[in-house]
């Protein structure tokens, strides 16, 4: 055990639900918290929850939550011992991580060297391959000559993916079905890579049919104990964004799970990993799995793992940062089934257009097996500057079908007024036969796009119309009554003036 001093004050370098979630654990541990906020977030929930709060800049992330210098200055100013980066923003920036270390501040996460090793696509692939981790079959590095590239593609067999070496986010990425199409797509991929990343190097990967996205949660302490903590299936994605995650995965059996766990631990060990991390794997139709990337931070969907294991991953992160040991592999027990649905401020009826604005009313679900990790409240104005996710709602149940029904029930009880949300779309996802059967892949949302836009129940339309008409009537009626009451007072006062006038006249008459 390390003789380092315990962490007493944590600055949370994030906003929204994850900042709130980290602060909840800090409070339970008796650790004081510091929030940082931009101008748009002065009234945000994470500011209200923290013991101290520091303004770090204007609303755009670049000038606030991504401004590492300002975050560090806030930590120094408040005397924080440690910085928890959450996810996104500064969580995977080795330079910020290093700056924390140089400032004598504990960065709650892995070493900057581990983050660097996993940051660049082609070099991470090379490193994982050397460590015996299966990678998607493909060229070892970028290929410069078209002829050579085409020969390579012919060799591994079509379809293949052409990917930008410097890339990400789908840019410079092309699927090639046949050798005849290769030259044109090769040129396009290079051109797109150059314009998007200023780098036209392209490498080739085998295209996986109906891939599923399954990831393994890993944890490591400074004493060299590296463990894996179950898997999460995250194949329900829209625009490459995960929206529903579950554990266990419906396609992973115990043998495969153990094999994936061992691979994930090897991947983490290969970069001397410390803290919480996630090894993302792609699983093909034959259930072969391949390394995709490693996220060197806490994931959005970490509560799924917390619900099936009963662990608090944020507490474990803090303990590792204090130099304490983690549990042994055989102490990890998974029980039942957990599913998470991400609630976004967006309008599915308008092509998922973001819907920032004021939340005029909020009522969230509770009851058996439900967890709501939210970052908002009634009266909060969801700002247009950041990610549209406002909450994550989870259900735990002994079995997968029960967990699905429970989460659907909870989403039906999730009421947000003032802005549009995707709760109905999420219910349609959970209720779709492909999801219920467990036979789905990353193409799910695209394949069933139409079926997932469930129209309102026509049998209830008359009730909705009755409600709308009665409320309109009541409003008009109340208004009319108020008006009449005011008019009544006016009339009464007018008549009293008239009475006085008459009396004066009478008095005059008597004079």
């Amino acid at each position: 055990m390390s003789g380092r001093k315990p962490i007493r004050k944590v600055l949370v370098a994030n906003r929204g639900e994850i900042a709130v979630r980290v602060m909840r654990t800090c409070r339970e541990m008796g650790i004081r918290t510091v929030a940082v906020y931009s101008d748009a977030d002065r009234g945000a929930l994470h500011v209200r929850m923290a013991d101290e709060a520091v303004r770090i800049g204007p609303s755009p992330s670049r000038e606030s939550y991504l401004a590492g210098e300002r975050v560090l200055a806030a930590a120094r100013q408040t005397g924080a011992d440690a910085i928890h980066p959450g996810y996104g923003f500064l969580s995977e920036r080795p330079d910020f991580n290093r700056a924390c270390r140089d400032a004598g501040m504990v960065f709650i996460g892995p070493r900057p060297e581990s983050q660097e090793a996993m940051g660049v696509k082609t070099s991470a692939r090379k490193r994982m391959s050397a460590a015996g981790v299966p990678i998607v079959p493909g060229s070892e590095g970028p290929i410069s000559e078209e002829k050579e590239a085409r020969a390579y593609a012919d060799g591994i067999g079509y379809p293949v993916m052409l990917k930008a070496a410097a890339g990400g986010g789908g840019k410079g990425m092309k699927k090639c079905e046949r050798t005849e199409d290769f030259p044109a797509l090769w040129q396009t991929a290079r051109r797109e890579s150059l314009s998007a990343f200023g780098d036209d190097r392209v490498y080739i990967e085998k295209f996986l049919e109906k891939p599923r996205h399954v990831e393994i949660q890993v944890f490591a302490d400074e004493g060299g104990n590296t463990i894996w903590v179950g898997e999460r299936e995250c194949s329900v994605q829209r625009r490459h964004q995960k929206i529903v995650e579950e554990s266990p995965s419906a396609i992973v059996d115990e043998g495969m799970r153990q094999a994936m766990g061992r691979v994930a631990v090897n991947a983490a060990r290969a970069v001397q990993y410390v803290g919480a991390g996630t090894v993302e794997l792609l699983v093909d139709a034959q259930r072969n799995f391949y390394f995709l990337e490693m996220n060197t931070r806490l994931q959005v969907e970490h509560p799924v793992t917390e619900m099936v294991t009963g662990l608090d991953l944020v507490r474990m992160q803090i303990e590792v940062a204090e130099g304490k040991p983690i549990l042994k592999q055989e102490e990890i027990v998974c029980r039942g089934h957990a599913i998470e649905a991400r609630v976004y401020a967006e309008d599915p009826a308008r092509n998922f257009m973001p819907a920032p604005g004021k939340i005029t009313y909020l009522r969230v679900p509770g009851g058996p097996g439900i967890r709501d990790d939210s970052g908002v409240y009634t009266g909060w104005v969801v700002p247009p500057f950041y990610d549209p996710m406002i909450s994550k709602v989870l259900a735990w149940a002994p079995t997968r079908p029960q967990a699905i029904d429970r989460l659907m029930r909870a989403l039906g009880d999730y009421h947000v007024h003032g802005i549009a949300t995707n709760t109905h779309y999420l219910r349609a996802v959970l209720d779709h036969p492909a999801f219920r059967s467990g036979e789905y892949d990353t193409g799910f949302c695209g394949t069933f796009e139409k079926a997932l836009q469930v129209p309102p129940d026509r049998a209830l339309e008359h009730v909705a119309l009755i409600a709308a008409a009665v409320m309109a009537f009541k409003r008009d009626h109340d208004r009319a009554e108020e008006f009449a009451a005011r008019a009544g007072i006016a009339q009464a006062s007018r008549s009293s003036w008239a009475r006085q006038g008459r009396m004066r006249a009478m008095r005059g008459g008597w004079r």
Partner: protein, 170 residues
């Protein structure tokens, strides 16, 4: 008795509803040839407990500008509700059609990242005219009709409020 008209499916369908008071919080509602006894208990903001004959419903009414969203069990019914006088006024103003000059507005606060059309450009119904970025996403603001772009009131890089006029199409 008062009569209200609900516009459904973006104004493509209409349904009229008659309402009469029977007592405090109790109404007689006529709709589609059927009459119901309705007991309405109004809770907090926008929430009403409705007992229709003997069926019980918890209904949430979410009203923004003229649009009303009625949340009921697992469905949402977007509509606009007008009394007969307002319906006549709206008809006279010709607001239901996409004839004449149409204004494109930004549905949310954000930043104009691209202007796709210039004044004088021909557009088809559904063509993107301006791209507004909000919450890390780019959103095409599309023309509701075929015609010609009359004016574009914003520039690339400009911040816009929700409801701001972006362009007009004729």
């Amino acid at each position: 008795m008062s009569t209200y008209v609900a516009l459904l499916d973006g104004g493509r369908r209409e349904q009229s509803i008659g309402v009469r008071v029977l007592g405090p919080g109790v109404y007689e509602v006529t709709l589609g040839g059927q009459t119901h006894r309705v007991d309405a208990f109004v809770h907090d903001y926008g929430t009403v407990s409705l007992v229709v004959d003997s069926a019980s419903y918890s209904v949430q009414l979410d009203e923004r500008r003229s649009e009303l969203k009625v949340h009921l069990r697992d469905s949402v019914f977007p509509m606009e509700i007008l009394d007969e006088k307002r319906l006549r006024m709206r008809r006279a103003a010709g607001k239901f059609t996409v004839e004449g000059k149409q204004t494109l507005t930004s549905p949310m606060p954000g930043k104009v990242v691209k202007v796709l059309k210039r004044p004088g450009d021909e557009v088809a119904a559904g063509d993107g005219v301006v791209v507004v970025e909000a919450m890390k996403m780019e959103n095409d603001i599309r023309s509701p009709k075929a015609g010609k772009v009359v004016e574009v009131l914003v520039q690339e890089g400009q911040a816009v409020e929700g409801g701001a006029t972006l362009a007009t199409v004729e």
